[in-house]
């Protein structure tokens, strides 16, 4: 009874392994194709947004290639290794965040960068991956849904890095990190009721916190709630962004023809507000193509999550997919005026290095989960 079963399973494994070169490379073809299409689309838009500057496009392409290499490396590492490394990576990340607060390089009034001499990087970016991975690691070994103590520990594991990043101050990234950690909790099957209670607690403590805040901190919160109050014109950003998208119509004004961005009415049009350029130049059609590409990628990621072989990898895959969705939803939502403005790039499209590298590394981990399950499964 046992023996034939074992043999047939062995053969099945072999069959799956041999089936395709992709598995041997530990890459997931559909996901990779989705990423490449999305990036190509992004570079096309960037070329227009950056006033047809080849320098900008090649620089972004270089970052993308670096990200692809990291993705490839991340995909080769079996999830078991991640399981072993995670606690030290998490602790190292916290340590780096403290270093940033102490020695960090100040850019635009906030300390985010750590200068290593040859490279400057934001440790908070590492935490975008490290926090969900850490929570998945911790809860992956517990019974699910988690009871009170594991929940409390998870909350602390999320709050420490989020608070350190918020102190830099970088509210957008802090939110992303917290969202990444919380998204794991969503997948553990804890009652939705907990999220409602949690939201209630936040809402209840807000007025108390307000009393203890400095004026400038209050201003920051007010600006967050009502962009029109921002003297640097965040409200202006939103107005111009809506005009850009709205004037695009169904087919758009055409490549290079967006007046909003090219006449400099639209600020930050290569970075956080690049979606407005898509909306203006490629219209609703272009925006929907983008959304379809995103949906395809997220669908594939969720498929990987559902096929993952144990609790840890399931939670990890689920939360990485959800974090990716969260980033693009917040960005697009902000640009079309249904969410408040927080500094957050459009994943794989916005100009900028660190985010590209982080996102692609996360995809590498997802690919690792997908391509290692057949070998390890017993």
């Amino acid at each position: 009874m046992e023996l034939p079963n074992f043999i047939s399973r062995l053969m099945q494994q072999r069959d799956i392994q041999m089936r395709t070169i992709w598995v041997r490379l530990h890459l997931d073809a559909p996901l990779l194709i989705g990423i490449l299409l999305l990036t190509l689309y992004g570079l096309l838009v960037l070329f227009s947004a950056a006033d047809q500057s080849w320098a900008v496009v090649t620089k972004q392409l270089g970052r993308f290639l670096l990200g692809i290499i990291l993705m490839f490396i991340a995909a080769q590492i079996p999830p078991e290794k991640y399981r072993v490394w995670i606690p030290s990576i998490y602790v190292a990340g916290i340590f780096l965040l403290v270093l940033v607060l102490v020695f960090g390089h100040t850019g635009k009034g906030a300390q985010r960068w750590l200068n290593l001499g040859f490279i400057r990087f934001q440790p908070s970016e590492i935490m975008k991956i490290a926090v969900p991975v850490m929570i998945a690691w911790y809860l992956g070994a517990k019974n699910l849904p988690p009871r009170f103590t594991p929940l409390l520990v998870s909350a602390i594991l999320i709050i420490i890095p989020a608070a350190l990043i918020a102190k830099q101050p970088d509210l957008g990234t802090a939110l992303m990190v917290a969202a990444g950690g919380l998204s794991v909790l969503l997948f553990t099957g804890i009652r939705w009721r907990w999220f409602v209670i949690f939201g209630g607690i936040v809402a209840a403590t807000a007025p108390v916190a307000w009393l203890f805040m400095h004026d400038y901190q209050r201003n920051r919160v007010l600006t967050f709630l009502n962009p029109d109050l921002d003297p640097l014109g965040t409200g202006y950003h939103i107005i111009q962004s809506k005009i850009a998208i709205g004037s695009g119509g169904f087919f758009g004004k055409g490549w290079f023809n967006g007046t909003q961005s090219h006449l400099d009415f639209l600020p930050e049009h290569s970075t956080d507000f690049i979606f407005s350029v898509i909306g203006e130049e490629f219209g609703l059609m272009g925006a929907i193509i983008l959304l379809v590409l995103y949906a395809f990628i997220i669908g594939r990621c969720l498929y990987i999550a559902s096929n993952a072989y144990d609790s840890f990898t399931r939670l990890l895959a689920g939360s990485l997919s959800l974090t990716f969705f969260f980033a693009l939803f917040v960005n697009i939502g902000m640009v079309c005026g249904i969410l408040p403005v927080v500094g957050m790039p459009l994943p794989l499209i916005s100009y900028g290095g660190t985010a590209v590298v982080t996102v692609l590394t996360a995809f590498g981990i997802l690919m690792s989960i997908q391509t290692h399950r057949h070998i390890i499964k017993t």
Partner: protein
Amino acid sequence: MRQYSTLQNPQQLKSLFQRRLWTITLIIAFLFLVLVVRLFYLQIIANRYYSTLSANNSINLAPISPPRGLIYDRNGILLADNVPAYNLMVIPNIVPDMPKTIEELRKIVVLSDDDIKLFNRQISRRRSFQEVPIRMKLSEDEVAKFSINQFRFPGVHIQVGVVRRYPFANDLVTVLGYVGRINEQELGALDQDNYAGSDYIGKIGIEKYYEQQLHGTVGYRQVEMDASGREVRTLKTISPIPGEQLYLTIDSKLEEAAIQAMQGLSGALVAIDPNNGQILALVSMPAYDPNMFVNGVNTQEYKKLRQDPSQPLFNRAIRGQYPFGSTIKVFLALQALQGRYVDPKIQIFDQGEVKLGSHVFHDMHKHGWVDFSKAIEVSCDTYFYLLALKMGIHPMNEIIQNFGFGQYTGIEMNEELRGLVPTPAWKQKTLHQGWYPGDNLNFSIGQGWLLTTPLQLAHGVATLSMRGQAYQPTLILKTIKPDGHVTIAQSRLKPEVKLDDATWDGVIEGMVQVIRGPQGTGYRFGRPEYSVAAKTGTAQVFSLRGEKYNVAKLAKNLHDNSMFITFAPVDHPQIAIAVAIQNSPEAAKIARKVMDYYLLTEGHWQKGALNGTT
């Protein structure tokens, strides 16, 4: 209510996860739908509305630069203010032919090549409909000429702006530094938003150190523009927040008295209130007029300043690194007494030289029988040579470093240098040589590699006057925010130099004798009615770090620098002064004038006496 067993099987876990995954997928799909609906609304339903807005889009943000914070001295005398100036501005996208316009403009107003270079660089930085200055501070004559011809220059106009002015000109540049036009390098490092409308930035001195506070926060005007980029009307204005007002600890009258006393000389003077570390005067002579740097000094004038042999651009008070000369002896004397290396009562016989191996170290004078106090009074080299041999380098280094020498004082200026206190380790590292006993002897009379800035020296003597209680030297009295909020700068204590009372008494007595004693080396100071302690120093140097001058031009006896440290009144010190004068023995005389002004003319002597008794 569902029950979960303690041990779950993988299938259970998996199905729990997959149920949740389905829910989340549905939520994600729903949120995608929200985005699509929103985009459909913006791009299809409201398309006509937004297209119209886009076609007429004309709302723009014009930055309003905040007025720079004013700077006052401790008595509220204005040291730096902003005055109106006429600037010539260009809106690039209106100008039909830029090279021709510039060529024509040059016939009417003075445009240097530097102006045009800066203008071209700025054009590439700003948006094409934003005005860019081409010439700052037009003369009245130029304003009149341009106004008549304005019709010939579309896109060029005169704007009334403000420009920094330093009413004291040369006299306070040592402290204030100056602002200048923002250059490309600075632009890269700046907060672009906040400097969107600013043309000036602090370049050195207080203006640089307090750039952030002085600059303020930019304001904005939402303006409506026509198709060509001309402003039609202002829709909304967000006022800029002016920079903070700065009150310095400097007493500008005292500063001027010092400058008056130092006319024609090269050197520096620093006066500190020892009770709190506040710097009362910080003088470097000769100086230069910061006003000419505000709009970019022209190449010729700058060349002249740089090539001037008296080095006016060199801030000697914080960057001049001078040998201590004999001023170091008072600090070493403290250590000698504290460490019981000498009995203050025992006299030695000074023959005018000390033999060390084959080398003879000379004293300029033969002082005969000399005890501890006398050694300070007459600045007896022989006495200190013997002391140095007895002490060795480490105790000497220790005391010198405890008084803050060889370290940055932390004054609110980025340009400060820190002098040099040589140690055996330093010598090994830089010169690859061991430390010789002869080095100890040089050290004991403040020669060799020892270097101090006048600021450090003033800080050292201030600490000494307070019997070891050290305050961080500071230039800031208070700041006033635009909302009226006043921040009084607190004096900050540095680590105390802890020595016995007898030690302080012994050395300060010696310093009093420098002025009062029959053979006191401070005779040039004269004998004022207030009690005063001092020490002279002479440094035989032929070149000063960071400075070059032509030795051959000067008579031999003028080569020596004179150094002078002093504080008064002795019992309840109100002022501590360090003076370094190059190639002239005038230091003591200058210190006297400054001290008289502060204690007598300004009346701080009485105030001190009052404080001292209560």
